[in-house]
């Protein structure tokens, strides 16, 4: 059974179409979620895509968190179902309090747009783990991607195996020079406590098709598809 993956579109989202295409490429069924809708179009998993929702007014993601669709996403996440926030989607999840910390202006002030490397950490997402230490090549493109959080929160993320990815050198070494935005602990992506909400700044939806470049994004999307499939099957069994 193909899981249905919903991709939200807010005014100013611009990676929603790429996310829909990547989901189809990965063998799942993509469905659109309109920001003004209160339901998630029967999705088994949800992507909050990249872009500049509501023009990044006030703070990135600050306004999108009030969209009717976000009330549904919050409920969906609280039921333990999988949500992936990419770039602006990560910023929205932090503003909505579904992930801790915040994303602020890049250390070097400049908008960064290039292929970088991230290293999967020994972390604990639901249903699937990324192979710890594996290096993925994947693009970033953001001006406000520097993850920050108070020291006690950073400690909890580290101790709880909730750091999903860190920016690294091509060989997997941690080295600040390969961190594109100056984030704390070279953090590129984190899990929520339950392991069903993942946020990251790099763009897995731009790195799935080998004809177009690196395919580091496949693993990340595969997590979402696997978790969605498990839960879709579980709810189908309950319904019978």
């Amino acid at each position: 059974m193909k899981p249905r993956i919903g991709v939200a579109s807010f005014p100013g989202s611009n990676d929603d179409r790429d996310a829909l295409r990547a989901i189809r490429f990965m063998g799942a069924e993509p469905v659109s979620i309109w920001h003004a809708d209160r339901d998630l179009n029967g999705a088994d998993g949800v992507i909050l895509p990249g872009g500049f929702s509501y023009g990044d007014y006030l703070r990135t993601g600050a306004i999108a968190r009030f969209a009717p669709a976000m009330a549904a996403v919050r409920e969906f996440a609280e039921e333990g179902r999988p949500v992936l926030g990419i770039c602006n989607g990560f910023q929205i999840l932090c503003e909505a309090g579904l992930l801790p910390g915040a994303l602020v202006r890049n250390q070097g002030l400049a908008f960064v747009c290039r292929r970088i490397h991230i290293r999967a950490e020994d972390s604990s997402g639901n249903f699937t783990k990324f192979s710890a230490g594996e290096v993925l090549q994947i693009p970033v493109k953001h001006g406000e991607g520097r993850f920050v959080a108070p020291p006690n929160v950073l400690g909890r993320l580290d101790d709880g195996g909730r750091i999903a990815f860190r920016y690294c050198a091509p060989d997997g070494r941690l080295d600040h020079r390969f961190n594109p935005n100056g984030s704390s602990g070279d953090i590129a992506g984190i899990w929520n406590e339950r392991g069903n909400v993942l946020g990251l700044m790099p763009h897995p939806e731009h790195a799935v098709d080998p004809d177009l470049g690196p395919t580091g994004g496949q693993q990340v999307l595969q997590w979402l598809l696997t978790a969605a499939r498990h839960l879709a099957r579980a709810s189908a069994i309950t319904a019978v």
Binding site: L58, C94, G101, V104, R105, Q107, L109
Partner: protein, 85 residues
């Protein structure tokens, strides 16, 4: 009664403010070489209709803490302006 406020939002002390640093670094090029600790923040003006200033201010405190600023990275100050009819 309408009550006018200004909310000043700034990045928390200790958190790197690249924008402030860039402004600071540009000042000496215009001859001002005695300026330090430049921080760039936000200035939000608003009018609240409420029975008295205390309840209007309480509401602004709540809005500033939950929406106008992000407590993870920002601090805010509230200034009451002159009353408007």
């Amino acid at each position: 009664m309408k009550h006018r406020f200004e909310v000043l939002v700034s990045l928390k002390a200790g958190l790197l403010d690249p924008q402030g640093k860039t402004v600071q670094d540009a000042l000496p090029t215009l001859g001002w070489d005695n300026v330090s600790e430049v921080r760039v923040g936000k200035h939000i003006e608003l009018v609240v209709e409420a029975e008295d200033e205390a309840s209007a201010r309480a509401q602004v405190e709540d809005m500033a803490g939950r929406f106008l600023s992000n407590p993870v990275i920002e601090d805010f100050r509230i200034l009451a302006m002159e009353e408007t009819s």
